[in-house]
């Protein structure tokens, strides 16, 4: 691992001041960053250790009915917080579908947003990669691309974002709170991660040295608590990234028709894939497989594989979206996760 200077600030303002120097990375649990540093993929010259910063580890219910999650709240603490899991069940389900128990015990809410793609050509530290080494090309295009994007990719980068957590957060209109040299800022989660376009090296909307301090769920997010699911399909039952995933949430009117729908898909793009037309297609409809299929089609509109290897993901994502909507309509299970990991055998 390349040598770095280690700085341990005592407060958020101190951390932000220290974070302004180019070449600096913030360290939370380090479950992704330390791994990338060992592989020579991330080579920060300075590490600002924020793990012990005060004020970033609380889960707060807000007066307006929303919830603020401090950036340093650990994945397992959030997923097993009884009030949080009851109010945002598909977020808890997504958290518990990710990684291993050891990693969830360490990894933080803010760090989850900042995790990097698992594109093999990015993580091998040597292949041409416009994200890691801008201008060097994309080794993934034309090679083995089973895990790569079918939405929102460009000729410069076909990577996907690996997070489970971010998928339901996007569906629930979560907001990212940050602190920077110019004060605090709020960024909608759906605008936080950038599609690759011509600049795959620009991964998020964060400015240099800006620090994530919290995630906030708006008051409306709680209204989906009764009908919300996260469905993850992966190559093995546990401890694997999603091939495709879906966060689906519904509210019903008194007449049994759908009032509001939320749908976001994971594993398809460099950000959670949420399509307004897919949700609009469900509003006012009677819940039915046909209605879910129309929404899924809208979510997959414009999808394009990068090669033969990932063409299957489009139909798989369509089916996963339909199934997740079906599961959401059946109601949130009393226990999250209903089954330990496998999506099979659940309603």
């Amino acid at each position: 691992m390349r040598h770095f200077d280690y700085i341990r600030p005592a407060s958020v303002p101190e951390a932000v001041a220290a974070g302004q120097v180019p070449g600096t990375a913030y360290l939370a649990a380090g479950t992704n960053l330390v791994d990338l540093m060992k592989g020579g993929v991330a080579t920060p010259e300075r590490i600002v250790d924020i793990t012990r910063l005060p004020g970033l580890s609380a889960i707060e219910r807000l007066p307006d009915g929303g919830t603020r999650v401090g950036a340093l709240v650990r994945n397992s603490d959030l997923a097993y917080d009884p009030a949080f899991a009851k109010t945002y069940p598909m977020v808890a389900e997504a958290l518990l579908a990710g990684a291993s128990a050891q990693l969830r015990n360490a990894a933080t809410a803010g760090g989850n947003l900042m995790q990097r793609t698992r594109c093999q050509y990015f993580t091998d530290a040597v292949s041409p990669c416009n994200k890691r080494a801008p201008g060097s090309g994309c080794a993934a295009l034309g090679h083995a691309t089973r895990i790569h994007a079918v939405q929102g990719w460009s000729e410069h980068c076909i990577a996907t974002h690996p997070s489970d957590f971010c998928v339901p957060l996007a569906a629930l209109d979560a907001v990212v709170e940050t602190a920077g040299p110019d004060g605090t800022r709020e960024i909608p989660l759906t605008a936080f991660h950038r599609l690759p376009g011509d600049h795959p090296e620009r991964e998020t909307d964060l400015r240099p040295g800006e620090l994530i301090t919290a995630l906030r769920l708006p008051p409306e997010a709680a209204s989906f608590r009764g009908r919300a699911r996260y469905l993850k399909v992966r190559d093995r039952t546990s401890y694997a990234f999603a091939v495709v995933s879906a966060a689906a949430a519904l509210t019903f009117k008194a007449d049994g028709r759908i009032a509001q729908a939320r749908l976001a898909l994971g594993g398809l793009a460099l950000k959670p894939w949420r399509v307004a037309e897919a949700e609009a297609a469900l509003a006012g409809q009677a819940p039915s497989p046909e209605a879910y299929a129309k929404a899924a089609d809208a979510a997959l509109a414009g999808a394009k594989p990068t090669g033969e290897a990932n063409a299957f993901k489009i139909e798989l994502a369509r089916r996963v979206a339909i199934r997740a909507l079906n599961q959401a309509a059946a109601g949130t299970p009393a226990r999250i996760p209903a089954l330990p990991a496998s999506p099979f055998g659940i309603v």
């Binding site: 040598h3 479950t31 590490i47 250790d49 050891q102 990693l103 360490a106 039952t237």
Partner: protein, 163 residues
Amino acid sequence: MTIPLRLTLNGQPREIDLDDPRVTLLDLLRERLGLTGAKKGCDRGQCGACTVLVDGRRINSCLTLAASLDGAEILTIEGLAEGDRLHPVQAAFIAHDGFQCGFCTPGQIMSAVGLIREGHAGTDPERIREGMSGNLCRCGAYAGILDAVQDAAARAEHREDAA
């Protein structure tokens, strides 16, 4: 520049002056403190052989920078038994043949101790398998490991009932 660290390691207070911020908790334990129970398998957070408890929670020590742990309480496999009396999870692994070569065993046992403390799996075999999925065993001793964790979890529940 050294980084001063105060740790509680297996119940004992330790003061360490770290001369390099790159040292992981795993390397600190194995290379500098002589505690070689936690194993370096993949060294990338994928195999779980390095699992220890930090502040009562199981984590991968290979992905944790030691410098970030000032003030933490660390429990390794060496601190589990009380003198000659094995911890119930250690005893269960022996009783149920929960290993073959033994390399992953310290990580498996620390992970099982963490799992039982977390209290979300109970004795449900599916939930135990899911909860232990961060620990790989290349000998394939999973059947014995599952039996051992189930047995230890049942005994822990029994002790709680009795208390």
